[in-house]
Symmetry: C2
């Protein structure tokens, strides 16, 4: 997905919110603001929005010297989600359709995204869980996703945020495939999950966890490691969580299912849905046709 004109005011607001979260120093707020305005004025709009997200947060890190400003928040949401886990796990197992319940909860967990707004109340997570369990969900996509997970021999599950990955664990535990690799970011960026988070929530005990060689808040394949790209190409099914992964992978020729909460107006319009929608979306048929014809992966032979 390209960057839309309407992303621009939102980048500026996000940069200011993030700078304020990291420091009270108004001089740094101003430096961040001016530099992000300058970057935005020259941005290649064909790039996806997470590239600007990455630049904003690199800048804040450089100016403040704070390596991982969201560390405390990530710990808080990991802990909170782990506290919820036993009850949610029981909910999945006692439901009529444990697979669908797990899918819905995995999507609900995507509310823990501090890129769109820097604050999130516990009550909002609870509300999102309740809504996600009852909101309409694309039944055709659900049927296709169920089939795809049953047939898949090699699943790459690209995670999104700390805390949210506990909700992903619920879905992973329902997947029949034995060969699942979970992906985290190599370095801290916003509240995206890293290897430490995967260890904290116990994902490393149940699946193979790798990092993607990048700290973009999405999956910008060109800037990921060659190891990750090879894994991406080998997998016969990719499950991609969250807005950032949709924004960076929505035009990649691959068998991908996107699971996310639509939280911004530009992305909601791109998906053709309302803000707040529980989204389970198969990669567009245009790209799937390509996959059928020539399954070489987007970088050809790696």
């Amino acid at each position: 997905m390209k960057t839309y004109f309407d992303c621009m005011p939102c980048f500026i607001r996000q940069a200011l919110d993030a700078a304020r979260m990291v420091t009270d120093d108004e001089q740094i707020h101003e430096q961040v603001l001016r530099e992000v305005l300058r970057l935005a004025s020259n941005m290649d709009m064909r790039q996806s929005p997470p590239l600007m997200g990455q630049q904003i947060h690199h800048l804040i890190r450089k100016l403040t010297g704070v390596h991982d400003p969201y560390l405390e928040m990530k710990d808080r949401f990991n802990k909170l989600a782990l506290e919820m886990y036993p009850e949610l796990k029981e909910r999945v197992e006692t439901s009529i359709d444990p697979f669908e319940t797990a899918v819905r909860l995995a999507i609900a967990g995507n509310i823990i995204d501090l890129g769109v707004k820097t604050e999130l109340a516990e009550s909002e997570i609870e509300k999102t869980i309740a809504q996600s369990l009852t909101d309409p969900l694309d039944t055709e996509a659900m049927k296709e996703f169920r089939n795809a997970t049953t047939q898949a021999k090699d699943i790459l599950y690209i995670g999104d945020n700390a805390g949210e990955i506990v909700f992903d664990r619920l879905l992973i535990e329902q997947l029949p495939c034995e060969n699942i690799t979970f992906v985290v970011k190599t370095g801290p960026i916003i509240n995206d999950a890293t290897m430490e988070d995967a260890q904290i929530v116990g994902l490393t005990d149940i699946v193979n966890v790798i990092d993607n060689g990048s700290d973009a808040p999405g999956t910008i394949l060109e800037s990921c490691s060659q190891d990750f790209r090879r894994r991406f190409n080998e997998a016969d099914l990719v499950i991609a969580k969250g807005q950032g992964n949709y924004e960076t992978l929505s035009n990649v020729n691959k068998n991908i299912f996107f699971l996310l909460k639509a939280k911004c107006p530009v992305l909601a319009e791109h998906l053709g849905c309302e803000i707040g929608t529980v989204v389970l979306r198969r990669q567009s048929n245009i790209y799937l046709e390509g996959v059928k014809n020539e399954n070489k992966g987007i970088f050809g032979k790696v």
Copy 2:
């Protein structure tokens, strides 16, 4: 009032909204966006927000070649307000306190501001009128304003937008002072009233109307004509309508009353009120003390 960091994302959004209103050409939207981002990245934040507003709209005019993009909207709101005028006039005259009713209606008219958002439904104007007639209004400021208008020998009434000036007419008709000068912009900027609008709504028939020598969406004294500045200094009472005039005159040493609807969060915070508040505010006492001691006006002898 200086420009706040939070004005920046809003400038970018406003520029995009305005560019889209004037043309469907996406290349021009992009040019406007990039140029405004560049201007914003270098902006002197000590300047008031209307300076950026002026730059944005000059840029759109330059890129599109459209001299007065809001002309049709100005005509529409002048016409609409003139249709409302007889009923509102009767409402003023039959009310228990015609002066206060006229003040409240003049403030209600400030909803016709296409700088903050480019669209305004008729129903919103009606809703604003109803609210403005009943919402709480600073009683101390109202008392002071009533006294000030009774004592004034020379009132300068600085108008804001087309359509809104019909509501100003209701208040002007209640002012006991015989020496009133009404001020409009010299050239078109957003939907701000110009001499043509004053003529259309009949203001020129009841008071002296002058232009300020500028097309900034506010009153940036340094860029107004010397004639206007002389008039400004001579007046013993200034009535300033709307956000733009508050933003540009709130730190000017002069006996000013500001009448406006607070429509943006930054301005509302500066005023210490909620968005949507009906505001009647006397110029801060800090500046009034200055006026008492040495009534030379802000530019000294002109």
